[in-house]
Structures are given as C-alpha cells and as structure tokens.
Subunit: 391 residues, 2 copies
C-alpha cells in the first residue's frame, strides 16, 4: 500500500516563511549523507558556526544550529535559561511573543507579560518600568514579529534590561539575514532564529547563540534542563571542541544551512539588508497604488514581512487560493486575532527580487479585480517600477 | 568571510546510523520547498502518515513524524505521557534505555530502573516482578538497543505490563523497517523511531505512534506538557484533520521520508526483513571466519546492528580511521561502557546489500592484517559467499 512519488510544484513563496530557496541550497541538501562524527561533517559544523557568528554579529563560541525548527530554537533558549520559579518578563505584541511566554511557563517560570497591541512595538520606558517592577531573571522580546510585521528597536531596551540585571533574550526568527541583528553590539544575551526565513534555507534547523552572561547562568543551574534533547550543557559537548556524540544531527539540513550561509556572506550583509529594504519599498509603493494599507505602525514596519489589511469586500481565502492555484504564489493569512483581517506578504531572502514583486502585484491585482473589487486607476507595477528606477 | 562550498564525499555508511540513502530519497529531499499549509504538502503528510502506520503495524490515527531526530521522538513520547510525580519503570540494558530514564526524570517522573548487562535482554519474569512492585504508569523498553545490538522480545513483556495496568512505551529507533515492529499486535501503547536507520532516510525526523490508551492518558493530563514544541495535544491539530498551524514543519525532510517509506513498502516489509536477516548471516559468517565474535547474547542479536568484540591487539581508532580514509567505510565505535571494546557494524536499510558486506569484510581484513593481527586462514568473503550461494 504505497503511493506514487510526490512531485511538489515550484511555488513562489511570498508568505511568512518558508521563503524561496536558492538552487545551490537544494543541491547541497541532496549531497551524500555522511556520519555525524565524520571529520568532513565536523569541519562543516565548524564553518557553519563561524558563518552563523558573522550573521548574528557575535563572537559567542556557543553559536550553533539546534536540530529542530525555529520554535525549537525558542524552546532551547528558554528551557536552558529558566529554572522553576524564575521570574521571566515577556513583551507580547504578537503571536510569537505570546508563544515565548507560554514556553517559559511550561518550563516552570513565573511569567509576567507586558502587552502592546498587535502591530505596535515597545518603548524602552515601558520595558524599564516593567523590569524594575518585576526584577526578572530574563526579559524576552521579539525583534521581528512574524505575525504583525512589527520591527522592534532594541538598543535602549537592551540598556534598561541590563541596568535591571536581567538577561535579554531575543526572537530573531524573521530578522536574521534580512535586517541587522547585532548580538554583541546590542548586548543580546541569547537569541534564536529559523532557517526558512531570510536565510532562505528549508525549515528544519534553528540557529541560536548564547553570550557569556547566559552561559554563566546555565553553569550555575541547580536543576537539570527539563529537555534532554535541547540541553545546551550536553549540546556544548557536540558543538564544542569535544565533538562528543549527543544525538544524530540532521546531516543534510546542516549541508543546506552551510550553503545558505555561504550565499548570505557572499552577497554581503549590508547589501542583503539593502536589497530587502529596496524590494519592500517597491512592494509598498505598488500596494499603495492599489489602495492597500499596512496593518501596523508605519514607523516600525519590517521590510521582509508585510502585513497588510485585506481590502474591503475581498474574500481572504479565495484570494489566497487563487494566488496559489493560478499563479503558484503563496502568501500568508493572519494569525491569531489578525485572522481574516490581514495578509502577510513575505520578502525574505531569495524572495526579495524585483521579478517576484512585480509578478505578485500583477497577480494580486487580477485576483481582486476578478472579485469585483474596485481598484484605483494607478498601476501597481508602474508604482513599484518607479522605486526600482530611482534606486 | 565565507567558505568554499562543502563537498561531502560518498561514504559507505556501515555504522549505527545514518545508513546508506537511496538516490531517489536524496532527489526527493531536493524537490522544491512548498509551504507547510500548502494543499500539496498536506497530501504528502496524509500519505506519509498512512505509510508510517503500515510500517509500524498499526491503525493508530496519531502516527506522525516529529520535527527532530530520534531522540526528539523519545522525548515526545516521554513528556506527553509523563506528569510530574508519575512512576515510570525503565528497562536499561544499554545507552538508550538509560537515556529514556534520564528523559523521564527530567520530565518530573519518579523513575525506577531495572538493569541487565549490556548485550543481554529482559525476561518477562523480570519485568513482571518489577511492574508489580513499582506499579508504574509507564514501562519503557528498547526494542533494538543501538548501543549493544540486543533484540528484545516484546510479546510476553507487553502482556505483563498490561496486566499491571501500565502503558508500554517502546524505543523502535533501530528496529523500524528492519525487523517486524507490530505495534497493534503487540499492544504497544507508544513507540518512537528515527529516519536514519532502517528507513534509510537522512536524520532529521522521528516517526512516533500513540495508541488509544496513550491518548486517553494525555487527554486526562492535569499539567501542561513541559515542552511546547513536542506537545502532542498541539501537534494533533496540525497532523490531525484540522491542519492548524503549530510550527513550520521541515518540509523537505518530510519529502525524503515520504520517498523512503515508498521504497520500503514497494520492497515489501517481509522481503525487507528477510533481506536484513540474510546479510546479517553473511556478515556473521565472514566475521566468524576472521575469528571475530559478537559481544552480546547470540540468541538475541539484531540483524541490522552487529556489535562485535574488537580483536585483541587491534587499535580501535586506527582501524576505524583506516576504514574511513582508505575505503570510505564508516563503522561505529562502542558507546558508554562498550567504548574501545566493540565495533558496531550496521546493516540498515539500503546498507544491507551483498556488495557492501563483501567489500567491508575485505577492507576489515586488510586493516587488521596491516596492524599485524594474525587471522585464521579461512577467507572471510568466501564464508560470506557461502551464505549467499545457499540463500
């Protein structure tokens, strides 16, 4: 009782991730599997760690790829830093801030949430007030909220968190590789990401990094980490110089991430950030020409995750289904309270290319017109093209 | 600061996993990534679940692939079944039984270990005595101990565990796809496996299955599962009919597992088990001709994991390194107390082929002769060939 071979189609992935994958990354994924203690693989791990440090903007030795997806990276950071009864402050302005709080509670933390409406960001003052009131061991915040497209400034918040002698834990799932994530400069103590966003690698690994203060806290633990699989104390023996067996690493996924990081660094981080910004401006201009508005505070919109209000009269599911079935384009729907209210349009990594932006704008226009939505006369693609011509 | 592209060599993987990967599986891995809620991917998930049920020998609806490696599968089963203070009985006769106990303790269980020497198996009587004394909520045992090559009979043990009203949790990491794993027939309540053993897929996913009694226990939980990432209550909404977003599944790894399962079922389970048994007999005959002995009880030796005593005078590390560097063959060293005492020779999935057995025997003979080890005059490959000629 077997099935025919699966033949997944080529999609244009313009949702909240996974993003487009470079053909070299797919080729790397299919390279011959070697053993997890093979000297060849150990060298790949070394290089991968070195490239990850560069992208994270850190010299942290404990920078590695967790053998799970972004949420496993979140859980790794939380369960290794939290001991039962620890106070944790979570800044919640979207689904992923809420998830961090949930993960911390399950790890036994006494969690205090501060909240901002979806699409807004936190001010340093708000965080200062909370850390001084709560005196948390850890303060968690999301750099790039995938559910809202909000881009959280971090420098001042890092300062107030450290003034209160708290550790700063940052969700960089969607930001890493798309906007600067300067772990050392900002004083971030622990951060996690995913491979399927701006690194343009298939999902399956979670880059994480831990600074010296975070390692100190782990070294002083009196309880074992509740997860054996994600225990950094054990993982350090495999990803550190010992290279002692812990679990069998996802070999081929690590090949793919190695190749994806090579492409990121070959492009250059500054150039990559500029490319994300450019295509965001073009997309925004094109959407504006169609009368489509962003859902969040325009001052804090991420370039790679564009959360826009669904135009009145448009059928959410039908538009997304038409985009997928007729044009092969995937965009994301709203998450949580944003369900049915927004579309999330990703411009992550390889997806951030002008041909993708122009095709998407044309396709969306056609879908909306077909639903009888009246659009402004201005051409969306012409508006986007103006941005490209000016760049 | 990038690096040259990684170019992993073709190895012959004859260790304790990963095993050889069929080219079709590597091709599937490199198919275009689609979204985790794409209808195409949802169909792949459905088919994958259906094929996994077949290989596990179960009709359990809750049969799926956890987004992590085999140890994440172990942790998934344990943390979903265990609540703080629950009594768990772990049968420890190798590294992986010990790991299960460790994972259960971290999940808050009150763990009782019963032990057998490495390489031995448990009798139903031993387990009966323990379950009646401990009255555990869960009894965990390893079907195929990857650290020793011991093959644990399960039918009678399942009976005594259920008589004591305990749930039977079985580690099938190395057995699945290589020897029969009859979940329903044996009454196994929960089982986990890995992809990189007898399924011959790269590492990165962990097949798991939960029977009705296990689901009931989960439904009656009063504490949240300590892991959010591995919470079956949440995962059921994604792998069940709701298909609600939980985390971004490792899309391409699921393609690969889909293809690997297709190959398993196209070959036929009985034929596959017979193939593993045949090549095991040939390897055993060849090793015997060289005077090499198995480390465990000969009555309970697994076909796919051959743990043999390192011949006196042979340098463990040097032989393994020569096999790897000169012949491209990986075998495994000993784990835990077996380190330096045994080699672990895998015949898992695609690795179980006569050309691999014959090449390995010749290569090992050469390595040992080069170290000045005196070997019996009989030819190892001739002894293996006799088995093939008789089959």
């Amino acid at each position: 009782m077997s099935f025919p071979a699966a033949t997944p189609p080529s999609r244009l992935l313009m949702g909240p991730g996974p993003s487009q994958i470079h053909p070299q990354v797919l080729s790397a994924l299919a390279a011959p599997t070697v053993g997890h203690l093979d000297p060849v693989f150990l060298r790949i791990m070394d290089e991968l760690q070195s490239m990850l440090r560069e992208v994270f903007g850190t010299t942290n030795p404990m920078t590695m790829a967790v053998s799970g997806t972004g949420s496993a990276g979140m859980e790794t950071c939380v369960v290794n830093l939290v001991e039962p009864g620890d106070r944790v402050l979570c800044c919640v302005n979207g689904v992923f801030g809420g998830r961090m709080a949930e993960v911390a509670e399950r790890a036994g933390a006494e969690v205090t949430r501060i909240e901002r409406p979806f699409g807004e960001v936190f001010t340093a003052e708000e965080v200062r007030e909370a850390v001084q009131r709560v005196r948390p061991k850890i303060t968690g915040i999301v750099h790039a909220e995938t559910s809202t497209g909000a881009w959280q400034p971090l420098q001042e918040i890092s300062d107030v968190v450290h003034e209160a002698d708290s550790l700063l834990l940052v969700d960089c799932v969607t930001s890493l590789g798309g906007v600067p994530v300067e772990v050392d400069k900002l004083g971030i103590d622990a951060a996690y990401s995913g491979t399927q966003k701006c690194l343009s690698c298939p999902p399956g690994l979670a880059p994480v990094t831990f600074g010296p203060r975070a390692l100190e806290v782990m070294d002083r633990r009196t309880h074992k980490v509740c997860s054996w699989y994600l225990d950094i104390g054990l993982l350090r023996n495999y990803w550190g110089s010992n290279r002692a067996y812990h679990h069998t690493a996802p070999i081929n996924m690590n090949y793919a991430l190695h190749e994806a990081l090579r492409l990121v660094l070959d492009e250059g981080l500054e150039q990559r950030y500029a490319r994300h910004a450019l295509h965001h401006r073009a997309l925004r201009a094109g959407l504006a020409a169609m009368g489509i508005q962003y859902s969040g505070n325009p001052q804090y919109c991420l370039p790679m995750l564009n959360s826009v209000l669904i135009p009145e009269g448009a059928d959410d599911a039908q538009v997304r289904s038409q985009l997928l079935q007729e044009f092969g384009i995937e965009i994301g729907g709203g998450l949580g309270p944003m369900k049915g209210r927004v579309w999330r349009i990703g411009l992550m990594g390889e997806t951030a290319r002008s041909s993708n932006v122009l095709l998407f704008l044309s396709a969306l226009q056609q879908c909306l017109l077909r639903q009888g939505i009246s659009l402004p006369a201005a051409s969306a693609t012409a508006a986007a093209s103006v941005i490209y011509l000016e760049s």
